[in-house]
């Protein structure tokens, strides 16, 4: 049993980060330029880390699978970024942001990391503004804020519905400056397929050049994974098509523990699925819930007529509409947290009240808001979202209520990291969505961008220097070491094996199948029988994939099917771990809803006596079951309570 210790400083919560920084070992400038750091991924976490580490004087090698760092999927984040600035003087402070995040995460995150995140948050806004991020402003010239995702204060900074894009361009431009300065070397169109561990320390990676197919070895004194989440395991998700778990999964196989894999976030406001060939789902910002009202017909017969296109929603009288969130949660209404809103939508649709051609949709209605505020104001607030909706669905949301349905959006689980964001492999770090640390069982809106940038700009640059201060006498790591040979050979062997598989079905066929298993049995609600069944189905799928996949094209050329095959094979294995984790956690918390554990009025029922811990899984080899280790969660500052939004 590995003893998991976060190693947060043993001082009161509010003093921990200052105490850490005061005691943290530094590396002098002349030594920094002798040290190499690999950063995988160029989203908010990866780009901000590469930029900052480069600026500090380390030799940074940055990797991304896209053609340019600016396309990493952080770019698609819409709503905003939280920060405890209290610019609105509405009672916000660091403690409140910390408390909201812990509570929103359903008491399954680590106090020390979350407190640090909240305390760093104001500085993030400072750096973004200094970089030229064009946040929304008031007429007085100061920054505007909005309330987001049910927060009782307005602490969310935003740049229309494109906050992620603007923040990423900020981080990308900072990184570009370092590329020009020669401190960051960019390797784009690379898939990182393995982590190289030498004498117990992370020392490099094996990458595939996606254009030439060449297998490359890159070494460094430390490796940072900022590769995002694994939501694409569900096939249909709001993630980018290329988003994948491969680097994190190779880390797991090289000894890093994978924490809380079953904690996935299903976002309540996405555009519903239209058909079999759909490739991905599109999110509509949660900010829409600030003014939109969610409803389904009160009568099943009305819902049925709507599904048959014999009735339009505008024709349903006010008294025949069920505003189910307002009914069930009068205090928070349409602004309940994401997990609660998603489950409520599923509950209504499963009960036969769903709308749209598939019956898997609910209405998000702006009729009242347009009457109250006028069309111009609604257009100013949500114009780009309405336009996007209209483009995809071909319907006018100013006239007809929008249709929405929950979709996979974010994964709270990820590589286990300590207070320093280091995994259980020395020298291997994980930042941003790739780690598990800050959001517990459910992430609050506008907190992902905050975490990515906090980790990259402010946390990692300090914590990594503590580790590297012991490496100043280590010369550059040669890529001729036997460990690099072995890892490169393993990669080549696996590529050969994949290519040789002489099956009939395309990679997408298997990916879609996996997605269906995960969505059905390990999605919005889970139960023991379904999860047990899923384990068997995944085992079968694994075997089918091995013999049945068909990958055209060669190894030494641009071959997107080959890339996908590697990723999907990893997803299948990760699916098994997710299901195991969901099966073992016999409680409901946040995004993890076990049907057996609910209150009489169908709310999630947590079990703090038995499950107030992080489940961190250890890979035990190909043929053995993974072993679970626990990091007990101690709540010294906040007292866990039943979340109530009534």
């Amino acid at each position: 049993m590995i003893k998991l210790n976060a190693n947060a400083p043993g001082v009161p919560l509010a003093d921990q980060w200052d105490a850490y920084k005061a005691g943290c070992k530094l590396v002098s400038p002349n030594n920094k330029r002798k040290l190499d750091i690999i950063v995988v991924g160029t989203g908010l976490a990866g780009a901000s880390a590469a930029a900052t580490l480069g600026q500090l004087g380390y030799n940074v090698k940055s990797f991304c699978y896209q053609d340019t760092p600016r396309r990493a999927h952080s770019i698609a984040a819409q709503g905003g970024i939280n920060a405890a600035k209290n610019y609105q003087n509405d009672g916000d402070n660091v403690f409140r942001l910390f408390y909201d995040t812990i509570k929103g995460g359903d008491y399954r995150s680590r106090e020390s990391n979350v407190y640090r995140l909240a305390s760093i948050s104001p500085e993030i806004i400072d750096i973004c503004v200094a970089q030229g991020v064009p946040f929304a402003r008031e007429y007085g010239g100061l920054l505007a804020n909005r309330s987001f995702g049910g927060a009782q204060v307005s602490r969310t900074f935003y740049a229309r519905g494109q906050t992620g894009q603007q923040l990423l361009i900020g981080a990308y431009s900072a990184m570009s400056r370092q590329i020009a300065a020669g401190t960051v070397q960019l390797y784009s169109r690379r898939d990182v397929l393995d982590i190289v561990v030498v004498d117990g320390k992370a020392r490099g990676i094996i990458a595939r050049n996606l254009v030439t197919g060449e297998i490359e070895r890159h070494s460094a004194h430390a490796v940072v994974l900022a590769t995002g989440g694994y939501g694409n395991i569900f096939y249909l998700s709001t993630n980018a098509m290329g988003s994948n778990a491969t680097p994190a999964w190779s880390a797991y196989k090289k000894g890093a523990l994978f924490a809380n894999p079953c904690f996935t976030q299903i976002h309540p406001t996405c555009i519903p699925v239209h058909g079999e060939f759909q490739s991905k789902l599109t999110l509509m910002s949660e900010s829409l819930r600030n003014d939109g009202r969610i409803w389904v017909p009160k009568e099943k017969s009305d819902a049925e007529l709507i599904r048959q296109k014999k009735l339009r929603p505008e024709q349903i009288h006010e008294s025949k509409r069920d505003y189910y969130l307002e009914r069930r949660y009068p205090a928070f209404g349409n602004l309940v947290p994401r997990d609660v809103a998603s489950r409520a939508a599923k509950e209504r649709c499963d009960a036969g009240f769903g709308v749209g051609s598939t019956g898997l949709a609910v209405y998000l209605d702006f009729g009242d808001a347009i009457e109250r505020l006028g069309r111009a104001e609604i257009s100013a607030r949500y114009g780009n979202l309405f336009q996007m909706y209209q483009r995809i669905v071909d319907d006018n949301p100013y006239r007809t209520p929008m249709m929405i349905y929950p979709a996979v959006h974010y994964t709270m689980g990820g590589l286990w990291v300590d207070y320093e964001l280091m995994t259980t492999v020395p020298g291997l770090y994980s930042i941003g969505e790739c780690n598990f640390s800050d959001h517990g069982a459910n992430r609050l809106g506008a907190s992902a961008l905050m975490q990515g940038l906090a980790d990259g700009y402010f946390v990692l640059p300090y914590t990594i220097s503590g580790y590297l201060s012991h490496e100043i006498n280590t010369p550059p790591i040669p890529t001729t070491l036997p460990e690099f040979h072995l890892a490169a050979r393993d990669v080549t062997d696996r590529l050969d094996r994949l290519k040789k598989s002489n099956g009939k079905e395309s990679v997408d066929h298997f990916h879609r199948k996996l997605g269906k298993i995960m969505w059905e049995y390990c999605g919005m609600s889970r139960n023991e029988a379904g999860l047990t069944k899923a384990l068997g189905l995944i085992e079968e799928l694994k075997a089918e994939f091995a013999s049945g996949v068909n990958i055209p094209g060669g190894l030494k050329e641009y071959n997107p099917e080959l890339e996908k095959a590697w990723r999907v094979e990893d997803f299948i294995e990760l699916g098994d771990l997710m299901v195991r984790d969901a099966l073992h956690r016999k409680e409901s918390c946040g995004g993890h809803f076990r049907e057996e554990y609910q209150t009489p009025d169908h709310e999630a029922l947590r079990n703090d006596d038995e499950f107030a811990y992080v489940a961190a899984w250890e890979h035990k080899g190909r043929n053995d079951e993974p072993e679970m280790h626990r990091e007990e969660l101690r709540f010294e500052t906040v007292t866990p309570s039943q979340r109530s939004y009534k």
Partner: protein
């Protein structure tokens, strides 16, 4: 719906390339253009043929990865729309659709419909940033910014770096891309400090990378999926001219890449 597709196939940068015809049917009008190509690729894979390669990632119209030259227009027939957000209902069933990669000397073809747009990154590296470090920064509200300046800066910063402006231009000029970045930063007080240096370095990089110049056909504005205004090019030209007037001062910094 069904379509005849004429698609540019080119195995790699050295291959000569050619147009190849394919037929697809059973396409939903609600499918995006890329989902239609997915369907074609599934057919090709089933037949053991090499699927058509194209860049794509977010499929939400924001990452800028996708970009196809459809029936002679970057991102196809709809205004203000990326290829991934173009749906098949914009076409007539039975139509023949021509699909080509971006064409520009500065964007060499990688494979099929994929081109190498790293030249755009190099232009940003030449100066598309504000030179600040991550410590010792003033509080974000220290410098008020007039709302309309912030809004204009945002409009320019909405560029997704897809390269449609270059593909649309008869001179293969990236002036809309460069103008948008120059404007975004020059409109904000934080970016003014090094505005003179920035515009000269970015324009020098643009020239050195083999792009052409602007001759005011407005094609870029018409085809830009984010509807970036050519006012940004005018602003860049003004910035550039002003900068040149003060060029003596800047002489020793050097504008080379």
């Amino acid at each position: 719906m069904k379509f005849t597709l004429k698609i540019w196939r080119q195995k790699n940068a050295d291959d000569k390339g050619r147009m190849v015809s394919y037929k697809v049917d059973d396409i939903s009008p609600d499918s995006s253009f890329l989902e239609m190509l997915d369907q074609l690729n599934q057919q090709l894979i089933a037949k053991g043929e090499d699927p058509v390669s194209f860049d794509h990632d977010c499929r939400e119209g924001i990452c800028g990865a996708c970009g196809l030259y459809i029936n002679g227009r970057p991102h196809g027939p709809l205004k203000g729309t990326t290829t991934c957000q173009l749906h098949m209902r914009a076409f007539r069933s039975g139509e023949t659709i021509c699909v080509e990669p971006w064409r520009s000397g500065a964007f060499p073809v990688v494979k099929d419909l994929i081109v190498d747009r790293s030249a755009l990154d190099k232009i940003i590296q030449a100066g598309g940033y504000i030179s600040i470090n991550s410590g010792g920064l003033p509080d974000a509200n220290t410098i008020p910014v007039p709302k309309h300046d912030a809004d204009d800066a945002f409009d320019a910063a909405a560029c997704i770096g897809c390269g449609a402006c270059v593909a649309a231009c008869s001179n293969a000029s990236p002036m809309l891309f460069v103008g948008a970045k120059v404007s975004h930063l020059a409109l904000l007080p934080q970016g003014r400090i090094e505005a003179t240096r920035r515009v000269q370095q970015m324009v020098a990089a643009m020239d050195a990378l083999g792009f052409g110049n602007c001759s005011n056909t407005y094609a870029c504005q018409a085809e830009c999926p984010k509807e970036i205004s050519i006012a940004n090019i005018a602003r860049m030209n003004r910035e550039f001219l002003t900068a040149k007037l003060f060029a003596e001062k800047e002489k020793n910094i050097g504008f080379t890449l």
